[in-house]
């Protein structure tokens, strides 16, 4: 049986963030959580592998207690297990520490793993660093940004299109892949999946102590990077603001900026609707 671990993350719904531009603060606690879109693709890749061979899918996430929601979602979609790594002392971990915590879990609790699948980058921080760093921490090979994976016994073959190169690569398991944002379009939740999740609603919850971290462990403090300032992007362009009915706005746009637009297009434009040349 192929043991697959899928690393997923709960992220705020970015476009809906309650963000105060005056104070430059983000009301994170008000932001509704969802499963990160790249994580959903990672899970989808695992589910498709499981369609063709005997596999066990363990979905793991690190986050606050509320992140348990996405594990239920993952199980409803077809994951066999859900594991939540949660502890106040894990908060504030940078990618170095996050990957180390995930690695600890995998090594201590799941030593017989074959394949780790991550999304290429989460929608909230987009570093794309946790996957490669997790592989390094586990001492296994990794291939990023893949579009296609096939598992043959103890090896995987993958395809990807990176930096304008279309590549086919293979590696022996255990190994890690990250799924490109263009691949493995996630499925919708099927009703039978929801029922299955209810039959087996258990989520394992694991804290820092269970992972063998000592009393001094503090992810925020132990992370090599430190955030020293956070600010809102400011823009103070002297600009022209046009308001009114759409028809009038479009006319005004061409009246005032027709030359700029026409030169950008490389085409002549009639300066006025009715003029004849």
């Amino acid at each position: 049986m192929l043991n697959i671990i899928v690393c997923i993350k709960q992220v705020p719904m970015v476009s809906e963030l309650p963000w105060n531009s005056k104070t430059g603060t983000l009301k994170r606690e008000l932001a509704e959580g969802m499963m990160d879109p790249a994580s959903r693709r990672a899970l989808e890749a695992a589910l498709q592998i499981k369609e063709n061979l005997d596999a066990n899918i363990c979905a793991v996430t690190m986050g606050p207690a509320m992140a348990e929601e996405i594990l239920h979602q993952a199980k409803a979609l077809g994951a066999d297990e859900g594991v939540l790594l949660t502890d106040r002392r894990m908060a504030g971990a940078d990618t170095f520490l996050t990957s180390h915590i995930l690695s600890r879990f995998i090594q201590r609790e799941y030593n017989s793993f074959d394949l780790v699948i991550c999304g290429s980058q989460t929608s909230d921080s987009e570093t794309a660093q946790v996957g490669p760093q997790l592989a390094e921490d586990l001492g296994i090979p990794a291939i990023g940004y893949i579009n296609k994976i096939s598992v043959k016994e103890n090896t995987v073959e993958v395809q990807r299109h990176v930096d304008d190169f279309f590549e086919t690569l293979s590696m022996d398991l255990p190994g890690l892949v990250t799924i490109d944002l263009s691949a493995y379009k996630p499925r919708y939740l099927a009703l039978e999946g929801v029922e299955k999740a209810f039959e087996n609603p258990d989520i394992r919850i694991i804290d820092a102590e269970k992972l063998g971290f000592n009393d001094d462990f503090n992810a925020l403090k132990d992370s090599p990077t430190r955030i020293i300032d956070v600010f809102s992007p400011t823009t103070q362009n002297e600009n022209r603001v046009l308001k009114g009915a759409v028809k009038k706005l479009v006319d005004q746009l061409f009246d005032e900026y027709g030359k700029v637009i026409s030169s950008g297009m490389g085409k002549d434009l009639k300066t006025h609707e009715h003029d004849e040349v």
């Binding site: 990618t95 990957s99 930096d163 263009s182 362009n237 600009n239 490389g266």
Partner: protein, 332 residues
Amino acid sequence: MKSAKDIWVFGDYRNYFQNRVTLQILARAVDLATTTGGKVCAVVFGHNVNNYVAEYIAHGAQKVYVVDDERLSLYSLETYSRLLTRLAKEYKPETILVGATRFGQEMAPRVAKQLGTGLTADCIDLEIDKKGILVQIAPSFGGNLIAKIITPVQKPQMATIRPGTFQEQPHDDNAIGETIILPLPKDLPEDRIRLISSEYRPAKKQKIEDADIVICGGRGMGSKGKFKKLFDLACLMNAEVGATRPVVYSEWISHEALVGQAGKNIKPKILMSFGISGAIQHTAALTDADFIIAINKNPNATMMKMADVAIVADANQVCLGIIKALKEKIRD
């Protein structure tokens, strides 16, 4: 031998675009080194790479570490990352900067982990603080904010840099630099990843990065069907269509069209921005646009503040209005 204040720039040259990124970072490293006092060094791995060594010196590298070996002729993540780690342990640079190309984004995290140091992804600026520490400036919290990040204790300080962030220096044939040629260590572990095939397949012809007019659409377009009207407009204007992350995630358009972090940087003569609020991941990719026309119902959106012309209206309606007007105005 030890070079405690040096700034290293990874020589990423696999295609034209990646090489430009290396030159851009070299230019910034030269600025930073005037404050820190260290040398700017390029690190080049490959086979028959003398032309890149010369190019990096002409663009500001005072020293180039080169490992030139037939076995390095193809980019290899495992070998390159182990090699960079080994050189960094030996020569102890203060800072390592890597372009945020796909390769750089995969290699730098592994090197940082091997070296036990921090790494900031996709920086949009770099500064040196009063203590001489590298301040790495990067989008954060879903692009709504910008964070200043440091690696206060561990060395080297590492960052990947978004392509297009800095301006490369002019080529200077008279520049002088030292070249340090190193052998490929014999005891590097074998690569665990096997390359079965690799084919250079550049993306479609008129790339959005080079387009004179770019039309970008955001969620404010309303729906996938309405978003498609932007292609009609693009067709009339000889423009390329770009999109924000929420649009790409909603699958209104393929990921190829993403403008901003994890996507493309653009430098059009005209940018038309429809229904985009302006998260920093997106707007940081627009700094080289000459003229911005933004359309949004919300006059306070960041994108509207950035624009030269801000049209307060429904993005979809204005799109349709411009299409209609252009059909009348374009001379046959």
